[in-house]
Amino acid sequence: MTDEHPPLIHAERSRRAVRILAIRRLLIEKDVVTTDELDDIIVRARARTPADGAKVVARAWLDRAFRERLLGDARTAVADLGYQLSHDAELAVVENTVDVHHLVVCTLCSCYPTSLLGPPPDWYKSFAYRQRAVVEPRAVLREFGLELADDVRVRVVDSTADVRYLVLPRRPAGSEGLGEDALAQLVTRDSMIGVAEARSRDRV
């Protein structure tokens, strides 16, 4: 982005927008930051998508030893697949099973495993989700179209501190024989937050 053209701004947020762009200009003038580095961060932030998390999940479905390591020491396990997590936060993976369904929220702000999923969706940061997910997870899941059976326990994870949580969804029935890439196609962002299950094969 350059300063030459007026940026895309909606009027209602324009005051905040103008102030942050003024801050950007001042920090560049004072050599605190450089345009190249800022642009580089923007490009790299845009490149991160849930496809990375989906590959991790697909590998875990196929490789039992990898799955065990992922659940025990996620940082090291994902490093083996080429994902170097920043040292700002740890990663923990929680596994959905026949008996337990996990749902992740950050009630205090918006902690999210950005390094594997990209930026969080707007709803994850919304007051409604942050307020409701901890106290009425089953109603929230229903709103997302997921009706849990009565014999499934719900385990809500509020990521309050230095650990980001990724849900390892259940492998869909009928996915036997699929390779890693095909399996990754079944793994949605929402299934790794826990508001959905992985897609079944016939719905890709």
Binding site: L8, I23, L27, D122
Partner: protein, 100 residues
């Protein structure tokens, strides 16, 4: 009564709006500035959160996600003496007149 950011379990009947908005330029800039200022060791994530939590509740509630981040960046940069409010006011006014 919990602080304004401490929202878990606060009663609401609001459904969860699952639409995603298109990021505006300034939101990308805010995100990138946070990344760079952290990389430079000028601010840390705990300070950033503290700056957000210090917003007056009405402003916290009405600001969007990156609006809160940008407010906190401003608070911290001024507090640390890296920028002054007067400088930011002046450049913001200049930009307002440039862009109408």
């Amino acid at each position: 009564m919990p602080a304004v950011h401490d929202r878990g379990g606060l009663p609401t009947d609001e459904p969860i709006d699952r639409s995603d908005h298109q990021w505006e330029d300034w939101e990308h800039v805010t995100n990138a500035l946070v990344g760079m200022l952290r990389r430079r060791g000028l601010i840390n994530v705990d300070e950033l959160r503290r700056g957000i939590e210090a917003m007056v509740p009405a402003e916290y509630e009405s600001s969007g996600y990156y609006g809160r981040w940008s407010a906190s960046i401003e608070t911290l940069l001024v507090e640390k003496g890296i920028l002054t409010e007067a400088e930011i006011d002046a450049v913001a006014a200049e930009m307002d007149s440039e862009w109408g």
